[in-house]
């Protein structure tokens, strides 16, 4: 079957099997290797992407279900070749060590901040509970997300 969908703002159209996983379509058909395959069972969150703004595990989503919808992967965060605020803060705060969980963490954090511009630490922890990190101990990641949330952003009144 033919899948037509928008990935990082660009419409794409690829031939897929009816039961193909979104993860395989992103990595193998579209060459977007930023989205990682970890556990392949929805436990680790390394494959987190956004579908119409909602964080999902691409390893569990049938690609056919994203027909006509908007997908965002970690490759879609940078603007004009420059990392976005979350990516910069992850680097600056030591929220990245081996880096395998980072794309998924960034996407979960992006989904959170788009819905809740001023999350508490508990809300941040809840938002990334489905993303496992075996290196950092999570504190630096939560610090980074909290720091970005505290930054004044265009279109957001500082509180």
């Amino acid at each position: 079957m033919r899948l037509t969908t928008t990935v990082n703002g660009t419409e794409v159209s690829v031939e897929i099997a009816a039961d193909a996983r979104l993860l395989d379509v992103l990595r193998e058909s579209l060459g977007l290797l930023g989205t990682k395959e970890g556990c392949a069972a929805g436990e680790c969150g390394a494959c987190t992407v956004l579908v119409d703004g909602l964080a999902v595990n691409a390893c569990l989503v049938p690609a056919a279900q994203v027909q006509g919808r908007g997908i965002r992967t970690v490759e879609g965060l940078a603007r004009h070749g420059a990392h976005d605020a979350l990516q910069r803060r992850f680097v600056a705060s030591g929220a990245i060590q081996c880096g395998f969980c980072t794309p998924g963490m960034l996407m979960s954090a992006t989904a959170l901040l788009e819905r809740n511009a001023t999350p508490t630490r508990a809300q941040i922890a809840e938002a990334i509970a489905g993303n496992l990190c075996r290196c950092t101990g999570y504190e630096a990641i939560i610090d980074a997300i909290e720091a970005v949330a505290a930054q004044p952003r265009p279109g957001h009144a500082a509180d």
């Binding site: 099997a17 039961d19 929805g42 049938p62």
Partner: protein, 289 residues
């Protein structure tokens, strides 16, 4: 092997037409959080895959004729913050909030939770406590309303036929003073399958204090969640602020002894259920006027 054919019905009529074409090798999928794991475990691809996720008419929660109706395609993320459930069926909203992670809850549906028929399914336990019914439709277009317990085979697993789909759940909801709550224990605090889960529903008399009806459902102690009448019944007639949580916990413990006398997990579950009973008591707001 011919490639899998995909059908994505958008309304009940298209769904019935799709169900009419199913064979033993056909499958239904909603949020796919259980289905994809099964698919990855191996076996032949289905001949026909019916994707229920486009049935937008069965994605909402509503209240009519003093019954609350929950579309089978409603996701856990939707249910956990639904205002109708927050008022009338808090145990279901709380159960939805405890399923997996944000990523899982964003797609996992209540229909999939029930049809998957796992003994530890969190939403099933809440639906059993609410004495919910399910409307099921088949490939001949026949819709039947069944008590939730009839959706599970006695030896475990689903009792749905291959050409049947759940459309919605319903339960009495207009009780003016209802307390309900859900609690679960897993190996970690989130993204954990329940080792034990429970939902408590308590309806108060018009005096706002005396318990008129009480129902407790327990999951992970049997092939499917069940109503534990012997634990809940003694609550009836007592005042909500005078009911004794320790006695309630003790009755829960006796239930573990009776239900799984031989199972290796009994020692753990005997200890765990006391904590679970305490969590449930406060989740339901029992013990407070």
């Amino acid at each position: 092997m011919p490639p899998t054919e995909l059908l994505a019905p958008r309304d009940q009529r298209e769904l019935v037409a799709a169900l009419a074409r199913t064979t033993d090798a056909s499958r239904l999928v909603a949020g796919a959080t259980d289905w994809m794991l099964g698919r990855r475990a191996g076996g032949n691809p289905p001949d026909l895959l019916i994707d229920l996720s486009h049935l937008h008419g069965f994605r909402a929660v509503g209240c009519a004729d003093r019954r609350i109706r929950v579309g089978a395609l409603s996701t856990c993320s939707q249910l956990q913050c639904d205002p109708v459930l927050a008022t009338h069926a808090r145990c279901l909203a709380q159960a939805a909030a405890r399923v997996g992670s944000v990523q899982i809850r964003n797609v996992a549906t209540i229909g999939g939770n029930v049809a998957n028929a796992s003994p530890c399914a969190d939403l099933v336990t809440a639906l059993v406590a609410l004495e919910a019914t399910a409307t099921v439709i088949d490939g001949a277009g026949r819709a039947t309303e069944r008590p939730i317990a009839q959706l599970f085979a006695s030896a475990g697993g689903s009792a749905l036929r291959r050409d049947e789909a759940i459309l919605e759940f319903a339960f009495a909801g207009a009780h003016p003073d209802r307390r309900s709550g859900f609690a679960k224990l897993g190996v970690r605090s989130s993204v954990a399958v329940a080792r034990l889960n429970a939902a408590l529903v308590v309806d108060l008399d018009p005096d706002g204090a005396t318990i008129a009806a009480a129902r407790l459902a327990i999951g992970s102690l049997a092939p499917a969640a069940f109503l534990a009448g012997e634990v809940a019944a003694p609550l009836v007639g007592t005042r909500i602020d005078a009911a004794c949580p320790e006695e309630f916990a003790h009755r829960c413990l006796r239930l573990v002894d009776e239900r799984i006398p031989e199972r290796s997990s009994r020692a753990y579950k005997r200890l765990a259920i006391r904590g679970l009973a305490a969590d449930l008591w406060s989740a339901a707001g029992a013990g407070t006027p």
